[in-house]
């Protein structure tokens, strides 16, 4: 009866297309939105991820996310260094600057100042230049997305000059750092230079990044630091989680993405539900005839489930394919860089698509199960 069930469905091209479209639409929309959302959350922690050598972050107790820091006194650094279990600790400056090109382009940037001598905190992925170049006067490194933002159409190169808050800076390296949450343009430079570009003066340290001594858990050392200073210290992974949580709890982003996802699901249920119901209603008399002929409810239910499953698989496949194409075609778009269709998302949406189809066919299935075969003889 499987063939019969599928032939019934395929025979009605208009409804079949409607059903497949409904599922594909929901799949595409939800896959795309959830992936972008996950990608955005990833950006919230990209700076933390890029500082790979540190496993402890120290900050003012009021700080709850990498994106909003509060300056600490410079003297805190030596106190942290003195805590038991701390292998090393260096300052990290993080702020925002206005960047202007010679051509007059103006962009916002996240600027990170790393320890002048060790340069710890700079990501290792140098596309052009090297970490030593950052020791040069006015030297800064920027990410490729930022470069393309400033110099549209230009090949990646070094040596160009910029103005950071009206002070001269020179690009000496291109680093493949992930785009940050606050801006697509990320600048790495020496701590001393970064502070002059932004807000010169004392007590400007945003974070202290540190490493736990071999054999000690970062959580334990972080707790030591918290106990011995007035500062807040957490492991990198805890800080990552906290920063993501901050975005989820304190911005409208989850709500707006969530709304789109829920709308996508509702529209899917509506399209699939209405179309499937119409399909079943048009065939109800025939279902009654099949019952009269001797098909049991179990059989008819199986037929409807096959039809629903067929719609679900084809629709999901097309929707997923469209989502893959979307992310393929935007892979080179910097604004959407780092947004991928994660397998977990694809898997989750598969389950959701099945739920959508099942939900929207429940009513129709009830009709099939309850239709009285005796009605076939009535006009």
């Amino acid at each position: 009866m499987i063939t019969t069930a599928l032939r019934m469905l395929i025979g009605d091209k208009t409804k079949l297309l409607g059903l497949i479209f409904g599922v594909a639409f929901s799949t595409l929309l939800i896959c795309q939105q959830v992936s972008i959302f996950v990608g955005l959350l990833g950006r919230a922690s990209s700076v933390i991820n890029d500082v790979r050598s540190a496993d402890i972050w120290v900050m003012d107790p009021s700080v709850r996310t990498i994106d909003a820091s509060h300056p600490m006194r410079d003297t805190e650094l030596s106190r942290v260094r003195g805590v038991e279990g701390v292998a090393w600790a260096v300052p990290l400056f993080k702020s925002q600057v206005q960047v202007r090109t010679r051509e007059g382009r103006l962009e916002n940037a996240v600027i990170l100042g790393v320890d002048d001598t060790s340069l710890i905190g700079v990501p290792n992925e140098f596309l052009l230049g090297s970490v030593e170049d950052l020791a040069l006067p006015d030297a800064i490194a920027i990410n490729p997305a930022g470069f393309r933002l400033l110099f549209p159409g230009a090949e990646l190169d070094v040596g160009r000059e910029l103005e950071l808050n009206d002070r001269r800076a020179r690009i000496v390296a291109i680093i493949d750092a992930a785009p940050a949450f606050a801006a697509n343009l990320t600048i790495y430079t020496r701590y001393s230079l970064a502070t002059t570009y932004t807000n010169p003066g004392r007590n400007v340290m945003s974070f202290i990044i540190a490493r736990s001594a071999d054999g000690l858990a970062p959580e334990v050392v972080a707790q030591n630091i918290t106990d011995r200073t007035d500062l807040k210290a957490v492991s990198s992974s805890a800080f990552r989680t906290e920063s993501i949580k901050y975005i989820i709890e304190n911005t409208g982003i989850p709500v707006s993405f969530g709304t789109v996802v829920i709308l996508g699901a509702i529209i899917g249920v509506a399209i699939v539900g209405l179309t499937f119901n119409q399909f079943i209603m048009e065939n109800l008399k025939q279902y009654a005839a099949l019952k009269a002929i001797g098909l049991k409810n179990r059989r008819l239910l199986a037929m409807t489930l096959w039809q629903a499953g067929f719609v679900c698989i084809i629709g999901y496949g097309l929707g997923l394919g469209a989502a893959v194409l979307f992310f393929r075609s935007t892979a080179e778009v910097d604004a959407l860089r780092g947004f991928y269709l994660l397998p977990e998302v694809a898997g989750g949406v598969a389950v959701l698509a099945a739920v959508i189809v099942l939900l929207s066919t429940l009513v129709s299935m009830r009709r099939v199960l309850t239709v009285d075969p005796a009605t076939v003889f009535r006009g």
């Binding site: 009866m1 019969t4 019934m8 009605d12 065939n283 025939q286 002929i293 001797g294 003889f377």
Partner: protein, 261 residues
């Protein structure tokens, strides 16, 4: 009148002959509750024999459809005895009734009730597929049956591409494809013009009649009475008389040429 009542009393004789495949005794059936209760069958007796085409005729609303629905194991009765092929339908559960229908009945409806997306062969093959035949084998057998019914060239057409008469012939093929012992038709010609109705009845008679098979036809259409072996007249929920059909015309096979005026 006397001959009719004799025939009628014959029906009350115990079903000794094994060719009496449907035996209804004092069947009662009402619909609704309380004030709205309608007593449709008030102790109806009815028999059908294998090798015969039994017509059930009577005014609209007298309970013909209700009776054949009960005989066809689709509707349960409130009282009386019903035996089909020796089995007591009242003792069967729903699932058993469905299996019983699939094994023993072929149904032909006024509105054909073919699946619109399936072609003629696929539609006619349904009872076989439902019984577990492979689609291919079932459609092969169904196509032979369609051929027999003069639809050899139309096996791949969907119902919308066929005339009403052709669709009803597909329905006949579906009703006969699994060689059921009993075929039940409710107003098989009511949706057809006179010529198509005649042709459908001829084909039904040729294809369905078999010494093992009973065919029960409910109809209003007196132009097809000549196909009946027996005609049971129903009024107010009981069988008022049973008469022999015009055997000469019904037993003589009618060629298609004669049928088209």
């Amino acid at each position: 009148m006397t001959s009719t009542s004799m025939q009628h009393s014959q029906m009350h004789a115990p079903p000794a002959e094994s060719d009496v495949v449907v035996v209804c005794r004092s069947i009662k059936k009402s619909f609704g509750e309380g004030q709205a209760r309608v007593r449709v069958l008030r102790g109806t007796d009815f028999d059908a024999k294998a090798g015969e085409m039994t017509f059930l005729v009577g005014p609209s609303g007298c309970g013909k459809t209700t009776l054949i629905s009960i005989i066809g194991a689709i509707l349960s009765c409130d009282g009386g005895d019903i035996r089909v092929l020796g089995d007591d339908l009242r003792r069967m559960r729903n699932g058993q009734l469905a299996d019983f229908r699939l094994d023993n009945f072929g149904f032909i409806f006024q509105q054909f009730n073919l699946l619109p997306a399936l072609n003629a062969a696929e539609n006619a093959a349904i009872p076989l597929v439902a019984r577990g035949y492979s689609t291919r084998k079932a459609e092969g057998i169904a196509s032979e049956m369609l051929e027999k019914l003069g639809l050899g060239e139309h096996t791949r057409k969907i119902p919308a591409q066929l005339s009403g008469g052709q669709q009803q012939r597909v329905a006949i093929a579906r009703a006969l494809v699994h060689s059921p012992r009993i075929v039940i038709c409710d107003e098989p010609t009511a949706s057809l013009d006179a010529a198509s109705g005649q042709r459908v009845m001829e084909l039904l008679r040729d294809a369905a009649m078999d010494h093992e098979r009973a065919v029960i036809v409910v109809t209003h259409d007196d132009r097809i009475f000549r196909f009946a072996d027996r005609i049971a007249h129903m009024a107010d929920g009981t069988i008022s008389k049973v008469e022999r059909g015009k055997l000469e015309s019904s037993k003589t096979p009618v060629t298609p040429k004669d049928a088209i005026p």
